[in-house]
Symmetry: C2
Subunit: 247 residues, 2 copies
Amino acid sequence: MPRYKMTIEYDGRPYAGWQRQADAPSVQQAIEEAIEKISNGKQVRLFGSGRTDAGVHALGQVAHVDIDRDMDGEKFRGAVNYHLGQAPISILHAEQVSAEFHARFDAVKRHYTYRIRNRIAPLTFEKGLVWHVKEQLNADMMHEAAQLLVGQHDFTTFRHVNCQAKSPVKTVDYLNVERRGEEILIHAGARSFLHHQIRSFTGTLKLVGAGQWTPDDVQAALEARDRTALGFNAPPDGLYFTRIEFE
Amino acid sequence: MPRYKMTIEYDGRPYAGWQRQADAPSVQQAIEEAIEKISNGKQVRLFGSGRTDAGVHALGQVAHVDIDRDMDGEKFRGAVNYHLGQAPISILHAEQVSAEFHARFDAVKRHYTYRIRNRIAPLTFEKGLVWHVKEQLNADMMHEAAQLLVGQHDFTTFRHVNCQAKSPVKTVDYLNVERRGEEILIHAGARSFLHHQIRSFTGTLKLVGAGQWTPDDVQAALEARDRTALGFNAPPDGLYFTRIEFE
């Protein structure tokens, strides 16, 4: 059966997350149902490179699926997008790939960006698409503190209690904070992340940006290896799964 | 009575436009009702620098209002935003100004930007916030044709039949087209514009970008001074009132 690789953009607001759930709408289910309209009625299973949480967005999620139809990538993309209808999910790119390709296991680097809108005035266009922080944040201080979290560490403090990863030790390749006008962007890259790791980083760095925590407090929280030492967990609103690199 | 000047951002999607209407929600009405919560019950009247159409957005609309309460701009802004509640309207800035100031009559230059999302894949985050054009557009050709519309001309072709301006002659200060990734931005500035002028420009330039019209066709349409010579009127979705300059 031909295998198709897709690059996917979605607005996470109406979904309970990427992963299919029995009782709530998921991105995976929406796409699987669209693909089943072109799979001669056969059930399909989608494998994504990462499982985004409820309310988290993607600009470049990657997934693969096998269906019993041979078509070129462009036609596959058009057909799936057609059947997605008004869902805020868009297949940006699709191509046939070898049956060896696996969207989850072959991914060697995952990139995320977290968007904070840093202003006093209420949000208009981007409710649920950014984290609205009213206190003036110092992006340089946030960037400085972020460097303490780069590299290989035991990230127990920055891990959701339900995280299913075998080990809390991960290697963060980069964690950069920059200001662009009234927006603060936090860019993170790693082979893989723990559950809630970037949101935990973001919540903690926000405390630094607002002057409530020092970089030393971040160091102490990391070394505590204790979830209760976490400063703050940021909401899903501002988190975007932007890009995945493969072997 | 103190006069307050406000800079306002709004998402035009849920509104029938800026101007108050008897039978449909407007931005003006939403803000007036919020201000009436702090005006000791007295009715107020808001004067905007421009009347955006249904579905058109603003990043920097300006308006003034008189109310029988003396408060500093920051407090006024906070109170109005509070009473706007969940409406996608945000007072970005407010200050007390002289009773001579008039948001409409003192405005000497109005700036707009029109956003086209130029890609095949369906929209996710920005439905109603950009015009989705699937045909590949040539922004350089659009920019070249746009220069024919700069300067003082009789813009009858680019004017809605219901336009209430006394004369169809206007002076366009600039009309620049640029590509940024998959977005095409059209920036326009003038002392004032005719009704639907920028949307008419945009629809026409899109025909040039798609190769259906040449710059000569644009010139001919302008010289026709005839609404029926218009190539196409773009939807309101991508239009943003960005900034106003005062004397």
